[in-house]
Amino acid sequence: MSSISKEKITLKINGTEQQLEVEVWTSLLDLLREQLHLTGTKKGCDHGQCGACTLLLDGKRINSCLTLAVMHDGSEITTIEGIANGDELHPVQQAFIEHDAFQCGYCTPGQICSTIGLINEGKAKTLDDIRDLMSGNVCRCGAYSNIVKVVQEALERSEQA
């Protein structure tokens, strides 16, 4: 094998539709990071064990390292670069700053996407739910108690809305 086959797909990434020709062995994560230079989505293990690569696929949070780009023709993808409204940060992004819910910042884009995905799911009701349902996103700096505060706030906002 000296060349890998390519497929044409259309992805709507952060609101912009893009026609792409992707090699079939390219993960969604590597497509974003290496070819589209959207490096906000992080690689922390490449095995679905850490959650750093979490993004929103059609509104649902997924680990983008565990899926091939070619499988998502026609999908809508929101990465951390597409969360803010122009210069105005999303309330969850702003809350991460307010609560100092990160240190090194490497897991942060995944945590933010995961928080938004969690709210969309509508499953979390209690503090323990939040802790359990955010446990797919590892933070080695140990900002969990601050992250929980962000999620609690976001949950309250969504209930009021």
Binding site: M1, I80, L89, F96, E98, F102, V138, R140, A143
Partner: protein
């Protein structure tokens, strides 16, 4: 002294926006024209030699550029010192691709470089390597008999004995002999080690590296490849965690640089999570204690003997046995620290190296002794409180540990504790309350900084330090803004670049102290220059004024005694037709003054666990950590550092375990599914208290550093709480449910 416009306030991280918006760029995220991708192949054996490498099939793929190994490497330096870096222990540093020898499991043996990452990864599977295996030694327990004391130290040698510990022990009414053990542990920062090398032409390169000090990578590259300083610029503006793993340049840097120099192309090499287990780790360590106390619980004798893993090629060492002398008053102490050489990669400083280990063993053993003497663990510590550092026989520059006990115990409700193990219960949960105290050295190192104030009022301060999530960007901005009376938005702090003034490695909790002092000094120097400018003007109200008679507030320089006499700093530049004004300093610690004092931060940690009586599952439900860390520059980022330390302590006590299979000679749980670090559900209520502590000795800003004091006493507090809950002393970490059943 500094006033408090910004210092001591919970300013939001100045790099926060970049981090939440995904625009902060880490080492693997920089672009370069025609960037190529390198994938490392790791050795399949633990010890022996490479007989043959057949890269033919890989090289036949279109787009594969080269397969590098010892067979086709660049000419490299001959002497060990060329491979040493700013954190090398004594010995012969590992030389990637140097020859056919395999010294440890997962040793990098080849690098495949291709036009795309996927292609390089695929091609790596096609490289056929034949090995000749040799017997190896990876079984720590069986090698303790061969332990030796290092000939050369880059740590504190074990303090000489004082008193007579053996005699005092034999006479003590309460005697305790115990062993504590913890396994190897890996740093596992979220960002995997990566280097992007941009080929600039004419043998010049720009390197983006994951490192806790760009200057260390530069030194290493210059030494190994014989490059001139001006041909190598290293940057690390953002580091996705490190905890010590980035103190030494790791081998992906070597690989990316070599490939770039050979191919005259830009190259990126990122390690896999599995390969993150192929270099340094916290060494597994066995600690033996003989502790003696009088009938009333007064300490009479401490023997602390340590056996710690190292590699066969470097004598890794850390300060494990200095803690009895720092933390307890005792007249008879004997200490030793020996190394057990194994066929592994050299261990590496990992968050509070030595302290995390020594304080774990000491604080668990002291808890046992307190029980023997019939004392409450906190009462026992108060009884044996050290007023001076027993190792050096000198007083502490400040030590508000009693206040940590008081505030921590009160917040936790310690005084409601029932002493007897298994005496507190809630349904089928056994409740345990444990405590421990700890310390970490407050060091200051030489550091430089420069500052430029522009006529538009913007100030740029810089130093080649790092920010691995610790908050360096933010606190340096605060210190500079404070010193020159500017709003935070007008100050920019730059770091992580070898073109900036020299700074020490970012580690050891000394960055706030060292670089902070340099930032303050350079801003003071700039202030002095501004005063001189004012004084040049005829009839200036500042003409006869000394520097300590002016202050900088609201972007003005003004008289302390009459703030209405003021001039805008930008006006001073304008009057003198200057675009900007600059200063540079090298801040040295006041060594003579400092050497008269033992300088440490202190902590007292109280932990609650709930242990299921039937299943042995353990939950850490509450932790109160009270810290005496000198001046707190930013209570919010400071709190985050301590929270992180608590999470690390939970991991160490209950989860973290790099499992060495002595048959295979390798860590067999080398990923994040099998190596457990705490997740969100593992962390419940954590409270952080900073007690007030003024210290004018440690450095000009009075901050002691917080990166490490937050972890040291957490794991022993949890272990002691588990004893209190269950009546079981588990002396081998991690404390997993099987050990309680």
């Amino acid at each position: 002294m500094i006033n408090t416009q910004h210092i001591g306030t919970p300013a939001k991280r100045v790099d926060g926006r970049a981090k939440v918006a995904g625009t902060a760029k880490y080492a693997a995220e920089f672009e370069a024209p025609g960037l190529t991708h390198g994938v490392v192949i790791s050795s399949a054996i633990t010890k022996g030699r490479i007989k043959k490498i057949d890269a033919g099939e890989a090289l036949r793929l279109k787009g594969v550029l080269q397969v590098f190994s010892h067979q086709n490497r660049t000419k490299l330096a001959d002497f060990d010192k060329s491979y040493s870096d700013l954190d090398s222990p004594p010995g012969a540093p590992f030389r990637p691709f140097y020859d056919d020898k395999i010294q440890f499991a997962q040793q990098p043996v080849a690098l495949v470089v291709a036009e795309s990452y996927e292609l390089a990864r695929y091609a790596a599977l096609l490289v056929k390597i034949e090995y000749e295996q040799e017997p190896f030694e990876a079984d720590f327990e069986n090698r303790i008999g061969q332990a030796y004391a290092p000939e050369e130290y880059n740590s504190t040698p074990p303090p000489e004995p004082w008193g007579d510990a053996d005699v005092a022990y034999s006479k003590a009414e309460n005697q305790l002999e115990v062993e504590y053990f913890h396994p190897s542990q890996h740093h596992n920062p979220m960002e995997m080690h990566a280097s992007t090398v941009r080929w600039e032409g004419d043998g010049r390169i720009t390197v983006y590296d994951k490192i806790q000090g760009a200057l260390n990578s530069q030194k290493y590259i210059m030494g190994v490849f014989g490059l001139a300083k001006e041909d190598v610029r290293v940057l690390s503006p953002f580091v996705g965690g490190a905890f010590g793993s980035g103190l030494r340049p790791q081998y992906q840097l070597f690989m990316a640089v070599m490939a770039a120099l050979e191919l005259k192309r830009s190259v990126k090499v990122v390690l896999t999570r599995q390969q993150m287990f192929s270099f340094g780790h916290r060494p597994k360590t066995l600690q033996r204690f003989s502790l003696g106390a009088a009938a009333d619980g007064e300490l009479r004798a401490i023997r602390h003997d340590v056996f710690a893993e190292t590699s066969k090629f470097e004598d890794y060492q850390e300060d494990v046995v200095i803690w009895p002398g720092v933390l307890y008053k005792c007249e008879n102490v004997k200490l030793s620290h020996k190394l057990v050489p194994l066929d592994v990669y050299t261990p590496l400083d990992m968050r509070a190296p030595g302290g995390t280990t020594g304080i774990l063993g000491l604080e668990c053993a002291m808890d046992e002794l307190a029980y023997k003497a019939g004392l409450d663990p906190l009462e026992f510590r108060l009884k044996n409180y050290s007023e001076k550092d027993g190792n050096e026989g000198i007083p502490f520059s400040s030590k508000e540990l009693r206040e940590c006990y008081r505030q921590g115990a009160e917040k936790f409700g310690w005084y409601k504790r029932k002493k007897e193990p298994r005496s507190m219960k809630e349904g089928h949960n056994l409740i345990g309350w444990g405590m421990a105290h700890g310390a970490w050295e407050a060091k200051q190192k030489e550091a430089s900084a420069k500052a430029i104030l522009r006529v538009d009022g913007g100030l740029v301060v810089s130093s080649a330090t790092g920010d691995i999530g610790t908050g360096t960007y933010t606190i340096m901005t605060q210190i500079a803004a404070e010193t020159l009376g500017l709003p935070l938005e007008k100050v920019e702090f730059k770091l992580g670049d070898t073109s900036l003034p020299k700074a020490p490695l970012e580690g050891g909790s000394w960055t706030a102290s060292s670089v902070g002092s340099a930032v303050k000094a350079v801003c003071d120097k700039l202030g002095q220059k501004l005063l001189e400018l004012a004084q040049e003007k005829e009839g200036s109200p500042f003409a006869e004024v000394k520097f300590d008679e002016v202050e900088f507030r609201n972007e003005q320089m003004r008289l302390v005694k009459d703030p209405s006499i003021a001039i805008a700093v930008t006006e001073l530049l304008r009057q003198n037709k200057m675009d900007s004004i600059k200063a540079k300093v090298n801040a040295q610690p006041a060594k003579e003054q400092q050497s008269k004092w033992a300088r440490y931060s202190h902590s007292a940690v109280f932990a609650e666990v709930k242990v299921d009586e039937d299943l042995g599952t353990i939950k850490v439900t509450r932790v109160v950590s009270a810290i005496a860390g000198g001046r707190i520059l930013n209570p919010q980022t400071a709190r985050s550092q301590i929270l992180g330390g608590v999470v690390w302590g939970i991991g160490m006590a209950l989860e973290e375990y790099s499992v060495m299979d002595p048959q295979q000679g390798r860590f067999i749980n080398h990923d994040l599914a099998e190596y457990h670090v705490p997740v969100n559900a593992d962390v419940q209520d954590v409270e952080v208290i900073f007690v007030e502590e003024n210290d004018t000795v440690v450095n000009p800003i009075g901050a002691k550093g917080l990166g490490e004091i937050g972890i040291v006493s957490v794991a022993p507090a949890i272990a002691n709480a588990i004893f209190h809950a269950t009546g079981r002393r588990v002396r081998e970490l991690p404390i997993t449910l099987d050990k309680l059943l």
